[in-house]
């Protein structure tokens, strides 16, 4: 069994794919080192991330398959679903064989797996565009903590950079200790270890109270349907929702 390990970055994954072609190997598994159990480390081939190789793979996906396929691969990678690495590899391999129509070959396992994973990421991202809640901090920064299933913070940032362009904000993925930070000009991704509660702005709680009041008043009691509510808004998201706290 041939197993590649890489550093967990998208460039790393692309480098693995480059190496697989270059070495004429076909790995059975591609995973990043922190997802690996100790005892398996010995039978792994470590792939060092190489920006140049990654860029060549990137270009080749764009020109020989399609921009859409690159999106699928990237979003599938962000899903962080177990073993998605090797499926992305197989999907791209098929893509290089048959070209842009790869995305219509829905009966092929690799196409299905990758598209499904990508859809999960995109779905959660769209949901979070609505469910994210900012709190104004004493410092005037609007702070939004979240704990999503997939690694979506880099997909959320452009939306909020456009929408809330005149206020500084930070979207914090508490699960992964990363955050997107915006300073009214640009946003960047940074590693963050913030466990303590941050001091809120004086008016913040008043707005939270008004929002809770609104949330309560707008429900029609003769149509009460908590199951439907949960269906759209699963309880794992409630922790950071002002109105559900």
């Amino acid at each position: 069994m041939l197993r590649y390990i890489f550093d967990g970055t998208f460039e790393g994954l692309l480098t693995c794919i480059y190496e697989a072609f270059y070495r004429r190997q076909s790995p059975d598994s591609i995973c990043c080192w922190y997802q690996l159990q100790e005892d398996l480390i010995s039978c792994c081939t470590e792939i060092r991330t190489d920006q140049e190789k990654a860029d060549r793979v990137l270009k080749s996906i764009r020109s020989k398959i399609s921009a859409k396929a690159l999106d699928h691969a990237f979003h599938a990678y962000l899903s962080e679903i177990d073993d998605i690495g090797v499926w992305i590899y197989r999907y791209l391999k098929l893509g290089w064989k048959i070209g842009p129509s790869v995305d219509s070959c829905l009966w092929e396992d690799e196409v299905q797996m990758v598209q499904k994973a990508a859809r999960k990421t995109e779905g959660e991202c769209h949901r979070m565009l609505g469910l994210l809640r900012f709190r104004e901090l004493q410092s005037g920064i609007f702070y939004a903590p979240m704990g999503p299933d997939h690694n979506i913070v880099s997909l959320l940032a452009p939306h909020f950079a456009k929408r809330l362009s005149d206020q500084p904000w930070m979207i914090h993925d508490v699960k992964r200790d990363i955050a997107a930070i915006y300073d009214r000009k640009d946003w960047t991704i940074a590693l963050i270890r913030q466990k303590k509660a941050l001091p809120l702005h004086g008016d913040e709680l008043e707005f939270q109270r008004m929002w809770k009041q609104y949330f309560k008043s707008v429900a029609i009691s003769s149509r009460r349907n908590l199951r439907l509510q949960k269906h759209f808004m699963p309880s794992r998201y409630w922790r950071y929702l002002v109105e559900k706290n």
Partner: protein, 436 residues
């Protein structure tokens, strides 16, 4: 009064307006401005009744000089009356928006003093939002029936969507329940808005930069179950609104017994199942190429309560099936029970590459439980044959029909354990729908 309490009262009074959609408009934010609108719309929360919250749906005031029988805000109803100032409204909207609670504002109002006076108040608030705060989020504005055309034009330049509620399916019912409103006051503005949209589109072809007039179009709403009209009547009306007025959406609101009045039916529960079926049928009108006359006729004027309208149509037109999955036109694929727009598109794309068999279909994610009775794959039929129509109907009912319906309807319906002949089914239906 504290702002929080006003919010409570005015949201409570606004909640019977169904629309919360924030779709259909794209406003580009720019550096330094607040907000943008995305064409697909975004839901921000779901309230305890399972409805999506996208916009801050609120009334300017619940003070109203009219006396519509079905409405909590009617003048003869004894409730506390409050009013927001334009500044308060702006303050709320901006601060909710900055926290990502909402996608924008849905502003409606009771008729305070006069239609014009009310409309002017609303416009003042929205002007502040757009010009003083450079707010580029979504705004849905209710047009107050009977207000001046000049105000409609002004409002349309500021809002993304406008709506006038048509309230009841016929003007006779309207006369009965909303004596101060008349058909002209409701439909007149709709035509006017439509003309303005067309005119503005023409202008934009010449002057690219001319301002947009409600880019997300207009919508309307009608109450289901307060008056005796059939589903056929309602769907024919909706069809007309879509075709002639280019309405973006027609919303249906199950009649809710918010007030007691001798002229209104005494219903305990809103007819949610009927409302649900109307939405399904409405969907078929808008996206599936069906016409109201195909779905219902004078002998069957109401939608089936046990199976969805598309399945019902397929049962009645069983002679058109089965269709070959590799040859059927897109329009026909869409008419197969269980195949929706997404599945039909997948099939089209996939069959360009190879002829699909039953397993391929399954693999590409088409749900075949119901569809298999209506299709062939490479000439082979995988469904069952039925001697009687009711057997087929039974196959098309959701597996856990009873359970499902409870979700939609909030009550257990005992008749789901057995199939009743149509007439009896219907009479129960009428009782449940609260028709008088």
């Amino acid at each position: 009064m504290e702002l929080k309490n006003k919010v409570g009262i005015l949201a409570d009074a606004a909640k019977y307006d169904v629309s919360c959609s924030s779709s259909g408009s794209s406003r580009e934010g720019e550096k330094g401005s607040l907000g943008h609108a995305v064409p697909a719309g975004i839901c921000h929360s779901w309230s305890d009744d399972g409805r999506c919250i996208s916009l801050l749906k609120i009334l300017m005031t619940n003070n109203c000089i009219y006396d519509c029988k079905y409405c909590v805000n009617r003048v003869s109803n004894d409730v506390p009356r409050v009013m927001l100032t334009p500044d308060e409204l702006v303050y709320l909207t901006i601060n909710f928006y900055r926290r990502n609670y909402i996608e924008g504002l849905f502003l409606s109002s009771g008729v305070f003093r006069s239609p014009d006076y009310t409309m002017e108040l609303m416009i003042e608030a929205i002007k502040k939002l757009r010009y003083e705060y450079n707010f580029q989020g979504y705004i849905h504005l209710k047009a107050i029936p009977g207000c001046d055309r000049r105000l409609l034009t002004e409002a349309g330049m500021l809002a993304d969507r406008m709506s006038v509620n048509i309230e009841t399916p016929t003007s006779d019912s309207l006369k009965l329940l909303a004596p101060q409103k008349n058909k002209e006051a409701l439909v007149g503005p709709m035509y006017f808005i439509k003309e303005r949209i067309l005119e503005e589109r023409e202008n934009r072809r010449i002057f690219k930069a001319s301002p947009k007039f409600i880019p997300a179009g207009q919508s309307t709403q009608l109450i289901v179950g307060a008056t005796p009209e059939s589903d056929l009547r309602i769907l024919t009306l909706s069809q007309g609104l879509y075709r002639r007025l280019q309405m973006k959406r027609v919303y249906y609101s199950a009649y809710m017994p918010v007030v007691f009045h001798p002229m209104l039916p005494a219903v305990e529960k809103p007819p949610l199942l009927r409302e649900h079926r109307l939405y399904q049928a409405d969907w078929l009108l808008r996206f599936y190429g069906f016409s109201a006359e195909e779905l219902l006729d004078y002998d069957n004027p109401n939608l089936d309560s046990l199976i969805d309208p598309k399945s019902d149509w397929a049962v009645r037109n069983y002679h058109l099936f089965p269709v070959e999955i590799n040859k059927a036109e897109y329009e026909m694929l869409l008419r197969v029970p269980g195949i929706g727009v997404k599945s039909a598109e997948k099939i089209l794309r996939a069959r360009r590459i190879r002829a699909l068999d039953y397993d391929n279909l399954k693999k590409i994610g088409v749900v075949l439980k119901r569809a298999r009775h209506f299709i062939t794959c490479k000439g082979k039929f995988y469904g069952s044959t039925f001697r009687e129509e009711y057997q087929l109907r039974q196959q098309l009912m959701p597996y856990q029909a009873a359970k499902k319906i409870r979700i939609e309807d909030g009550e257990q319906l005992s008749f789901f354990s057995q199939i009743l002949p149509r007439s009896e089914e219907q009479s129960r239906f009428l009782v449940r729908a609260g028709e008088v």
